[in-house]
Amino acid sequence: MVSRVRAELRKLLGLPTAWVGLVLGTLTAPAIVLLNAPYTRRAIAAGTLTDTSDLGLRDLGVGLIGPMVLGVIAVSSEYTSTSQHAPGARQLTATLTAVPDRLRLLVAKTAALVLVVAAQAAVAATATLGLTQVLHGDHVPAPAPARVAGAILYWTLTALLAYAITLITRNGIVPLTLLVINSTVVSVSYLLTKITDLASYLPDIVGAQMFIRDADFPVEIAPLTAGLVMTAWVAVLLAIGAVLFQRRDA
């Protein structure tokens, strides 16, 4: 078990794309806090910020691209063609000949992803919230540990969501594009909440309620319930992905 997790960690951290996700995901949020500092100061002075305890936690959102990239490529790297000489050849062949028990393999892969993303989230949250304290400490209360934990959990579950979807699609481009667009350009899930309250239970929307208090959420959901709902989404998608992975020919 330990050796399999070690191998999966090496595989993931040996990919240049993984480092793009790690660096982008860790640095974007602190950079935004820094860039927004003058604007934030003015907003605080003018009293237009309703709940300053949300401040750093809200900025964390832009870093989610990191967990999304990591979750997708942990799987998609197995399916990309390894060379032009053999278009059908993929890393998955090496992976499954080394660890043929697919359930054990998925457990190790999932564990490696969770370790990497949780560490990244902890670093990004510390940097973002620390910077917020340094810049606006007089007006912003120190973040509650439970909310920080909620944010780290949100990052980890987001990575697992991306991972599970890619396990189903076996291709990284479509899920990564959709997830990144949904979290940056236009949030389709957010638009859906304007149409139906049910959309408040979509994983990305509900998950944010674990640590963000004041936003125009149409339905208020308690942090614990929010965490459970998002976990349920991830669990169901992971279960579907795992069953397909188990059944399909490699």
């Binding site: 050796s3 399999r4 070690r6 191998a7 999966e8 090496r10 595989k11 040996g14 990919l15 240049p16 794309t17 790297s77 990309t80 390894t82 060379s83 000489h85 053999a86 059908g88 050849a89 993929r90 890393q91 062949t93 090496a94 992976t95 499954l96 000949t97 080394a98 660890v99 043929p100 028990d101 697919r102 020919d249 490699a250």
Partner: protein, 237 residues
């Protein structure tokens, strides 16, 4: 020891393997011969637990591949390509594979040396030539010093020196008591290294036995092959 017992497989509603049955024994090189599309790769993928048979079983030392613990110490496989992600160096690839089976990092450099890739250890797999990829794939197969070797068209893409090297390597492996199973559509190649031959055509085993038995009354293995697979030479106009 490899045992394939009445393996059948259907793909896109066509039966591509019909009750495929054969053995490969320790200390011998077993050649798996058949024309393009006969079902060689399909059979080997089932043997390696990558694809599932519809019925029948394929066993390595009495156990299905998926039930092997630390399989690389029992069996090494070489399929199409190297199995290394393009962005990884040869050494990084070999190290993660070694780690997954509890083997030390030092094995990576040892197998690179065996296949003659020491100088390319830090090169990314995506930059490898066809022949270098084959060698890296073989290096991966050798990590756990396995007693069984399964190779799909191992000389594909190798230069004459590489082909001779591969031939000697496989002969030596068998001489040391290993089980060696290799597929090929090159009859002259197989005739030079195989002790036993299995001939597959359109998903059915049409002959199996020692090289002499399969060649039978025919002048060469090639003649026997054409007789067995009833492939008609295309008549020039």
């Amino acid at each position: 020891m490899i045992t394939v017992d009445r393996v059948s497989k259907t793909r896109s509603r066509t039966r591509i393997l019909h009750d495929v049955t054969f053995e490969a024994r320790p200390g011998r090189v077993t050649g798996f011969l058949g024309p393009n599309g006969a079902g060689k790769t399909s059979t080997l993928r089932i043997l390696l637990g990558l694809d599932r048979p519809e019925s029948g079983a394929a066993l390595i030392c009495g156990r299905p591949y998926r039930k092997l613990d630390r399989p690389l110490t029992t069996i090494g496989a070489l399929l199409d390509g190297s199995g290394a992600h393009r962005a990884r160096t040869a050494r990084a690839h070999l190290r993660w594979v070694a780690a997954s089976n509890g083997l030390p990092d030092s094995r990576a450099d040892e197998v690179l040396e065996i296949v003659g890739l020491t100088g390319d250890a830090r090169k990314r797999a995506g930059r490898f030539s066809l022949g270098m990829s084959r060698r890296l794939g073989l290096a991966t197969a050798l990590l756990g010093d396995p007693e069984v070797l399964v190779l799909d068209e191992p000389v594909n893409g190798l230069d004459p020196v590489g082909i001779r090297w591969m031939r000697e390597f496989l002969r030596n492996s068998a001489a040391q008591g290993r089980t060696v199973l290799l597929s090929s559509h090159l009859m002259s190649e197989l005739a030079e290294i195989a002790d036993d031959v299995i001939v597959i055509d359109k998903g059915r085993i049409v002959a199996r036995g020692s090289l002499a038995e399969v060649t039978g009354d025919h002048r060469t293995l090639e003649d026997a092959f054409f007789a067995l697979t009833a492939t008609e030479a295309v008549r020039p106009w």
